[in-house]
């Protein structure tokens, strides 16, 4: 097996993993602050993919540019969803939250089926099938753009949480819910804001994903599952952990496909999940509670 082949596969795995990481980032942010596991995460991303496809169809808007309006829309939807539907469940048992979000996921999938039908849809940009050749190494342009977008979004989100007053307040909520309320922070508003940010992240990931994957209503559950695997490996609630988990899963799947069998790709990511759960249950970059 040539070194070029291995290099090609690893690069592809890293780029795909960064995008996976962005997708999981939203899930991680929401759990890290609101302590609600969003079981409708994959379905939300699928809707974002449809939004990008529709914008491309109507205005020939590139999915990279479409990510901005779609993220803004998803921020508003996420905010409303948290404020209107999920907030009353915050203090309820976890199984109630689980059922609520599974119900949301099921409704979203069926609405997509009714509206868009079962057929797959896609965008076709000029650069989508282009690649750069660096010697014998081929680098997929769309994957590079998507990965750069993932890095930029993560950096932006990190800066927001680190340097803005609202971000600091959200982190305070995450660290000590009761303390945040005592000092007068509007926790419900901050939770809704966080859910909105998580939804915006998944919207950007969805728009980028349309450059690589055709969208169909059935995609949602598999992305939700993938998101869970990534955040558990990286550490639930940790932003760098989500990116690291994404890259690890992307690369390990790629190498498993190369050295073992392509059909064994998912098996390897789940094996990695089990190993992490056994030896570092809080995830690679997660904190013990």
């Amino acid at each position: 097996m040539s070194a070029t082949l291995v290099a090609n596969v690893v690069i592809s795995g890293v780029l795909t993993g960064l995008l996976y990481g962005l997708m999981a980032l939203g899930l991680s942010v929401i759990f890290g602050v609101v302590r609600v596991v969003n079981f409708a995460h994959g379905e939300m991303m699928t809707i974002a993919m449809y939004a990008a496809v529709l914008l491309f169809g109507a205005f020939r808007l590139d999915p990279i540019l479409a990510a901005l309006p779609v993220a803004a829309l998803f921020f508003a939807i996420g905010y409303a969803l948290q404020a209107g539907l999920i907030n009353p469940f915050i203090t309820r048992p976890e199984h109630s939250q689980f059922i609520l979000l599974v119900a949301v996921a099921t409704i979203l999938t069926n609405v997509m089926l009714m509206v868009f039908g079962p057929d797959a849809r896609s965008v076709q940009t000029d650069y989508q099938l282009d690649s750069w050749a660096i010697g014998q190494i081929i680098v997929d342009k769309a994957r590079v753009y998507a990965a750069l977008c993932a890095l930029a979004t993560t950096a932006g989100l990190f800066a927001f949480f680190r340097f803005s007053r609202t971000g600091t307040a959200i982190r305070a909520c995450a660290d000590n819910h009761l303390g945040a309320r005592i000092v007068g922070l509007d926790v419900k508003h901050l939770y809704a804001l966080t859910f909105g940010l998580g939804a915006a992240c998944v919207a950007i990931a969805g728009c980028m994903m349309t450059l690589l994957v055709e969208v169909a209503p059935s995609l949602g559950p598999s992305y939700t599952l993938l998101g869970f695997v990534i955040v558990i490996v990286g550490g639930l609630g940790s932003m760098p952990g989500a990116l690291l988990g994404g890259v690890l899963i992307g690369v390990s799947e790629a190498l498993a496909g190369l050295f073992i069998d392509p059909s064994a790709k998912s098996m390897i990511s789940f094996a990695l999940l089990i190993v992490v759960l056994l030896f570092r249950p809080q995830g690679l970059l997660g904190r013990t509670t």
Partner: protein, 413 residues
């Protein structure tokens, strides 16, 4: 003012005698004579096989009018959705028979068809299979099950033979193939067939240098395509489904892999409308050898005209396979009904067994059932995407264009 018409004593007696005779003769099937043939059509019109089930349904829908003008028989369709589920297929078949279906047609999927075949055999109602390739459907010794579709073994054999014909027609002899297949029941069955048949087909000049199976739900095939490209094969032999064939073709472009061509021995995907829509110009010159309709047959023209009249927005070429075989299944039932002059299931089954239909939509010899209830000699076509749509390039008698192989962009190994 007119007086209400009274029934005379003689008329009343005659009516009573007629009713009595009908009741007495009913068990012998004589009272079922003529009238209308009720055809229970079982197809997966919802869930994951909905796309193809609905495509087959278009063939069923046009059949009554076309067959009325062809054979002069009246057909009533009783449609049932199997919901792409084996158990639902079984219960729907039971219900159709209870509701008076004289013959069943269906059901695209081998698993569902096998379940319906059991019901048909138990209840003694003929089943004419439109599409289903699992060999065991006609290997159970059933007396009421008939199939006008190639078995999986025939599909592979026909598909591989056509690859040999293609190389002869284009005067090219590739030596190495890399084989990629979707890793589901269908893909594995095709792989077993290819592995068993390829060594025996000595006219084929190539050897498989690597075999790569992949997940049917794969959204990313970059690793698989990297491996296939690294095999340095002359061409890609592919058994795929629709979505994976799109992902795979795009990945080939991204990775700048330009082999002599991409040839499928007869799987879905490449000839479907979505493939051409999604891959655009990169769909051109992809080749697939599925069972296909004869574009030059007289009956195809009739069916295509009826199809376009009913579905002006659809393109027949993307439905021809499903429409053609479903139409032929109903035509077999209608033809048997005409000859039997009865809707009695046994009489219908006997008449189906004696079928000899020469004029067909699909490629192949006349429709004649062997003792197992299987039509032998259904053929495949070598279909190439040319100028934006699938076109038959082989066999020559049905060809709409000349085959192009290798791809024009191929620059040699």
């Amino acid at each position: 003012m007119t007086q209400p018409k009274r029934i005379s004593r003689r008329q009343f007696n005659a009516a009573v005698a007629g009713l009595g005779a009908a009741s007495a003769l009913a068990p012998f099937g004589i009272a079922r004579a003529a009238g209308k043939l009720k055809v229970g059509v079982l197809l997966p019109r919802s869930s994951y096989e909905a796309l193809i089930g609905q495509s087959c349904q278009l063939g069923a829908d046009l059949a009554p009018a076309v067959l009325k003008s062809m054979l002069g028989v009246d057909i009533e369709l009783m449609n049932a959705d199997t919901e792409s589920n084996v158990n639902t297929a079984r219960t729907r078949a039971e219900r159709l028979i209870q509701e008076g279906a004289h013959v069943l047609v269906g059901a695209f999927d081998s698993g569902q068809t096998a379940a319906i075949a059991q019901v048909a055999e138990q209840r003694g109602v003929p089943l004419v299979v439109n599409i289903a390739a699992a060999p065991q459907i006609t290997e159970q010794g059933y007396k009421f099950v008939f199939r006008n579709f190639p078995t999986a073994g025939e599909l592979v054999k026909n598909g591989l033979s056509l690859i040999g014909d293609l190389f002869q027609a284009t005067h090219v002899a590739p030596r190495k193939a890399v084989y990629m297949h979707v890793n589901d029941t269908f893909g594995q069955a095709m792989t077993r067939g290819i592995n068993a048949l390829l060594p025996r087909l000595t006219q084929l000049p190539f050897k498989i240098v690597d075999t790569i199976g992949y997940d049917p739900a794969a959204k990313d095939l970059s690793v698989e395509v990297s491996k296939a490209k690294a095999a340095n094969a002359d061409f890609l032999l592919l058994v795929s489904r629709l979505n994976d064939s799109i992902v795979l073709r795009r990945e080939m472009v991204k990775q700048r892999w330009h082999p002599m061509g991409l040839i499928s021995p007869g799987s879905p995907g490449l000839y479907e409308e979505q493939f051409s829509k999604s891959t655009g110009k990169y769909a051109e010159y992809c080749i697939v050898n599925p069972p296909w309709y004869n574009p030059k047959a007289e009956l195809t023209g009739v069916v295509e005209a009826a199809f376009q009249k009913r579905n002006p927005k659809e393109k027949f070429v993307y439905h021809g396979l499903n429409v053609g075989y479903t139409f032929e299944a109903i035509m077999i039932a209608a033809d048997a009904f005409k000859r039997a002059g009865s809707t009695d299931p046994k009489a219908l089954a006997d008449a189906i067994r004696a079928t000899d239909i020469q004029k067909r939509v699909m490629l192949g010899g006349p429709i004649k059932f062997n003792p197992k209830g299987q039509v032998d000699g259904n053929q495949s076509a070598c279909v190439e995407i040319l100028r934006g749509r699938p076109r038959v390039v082989l066999p020559e008698y049905a060809a709409e264009a000349k085959p192009v192989f290798p791809w024009p962009e191929y620059k040699g190994a």
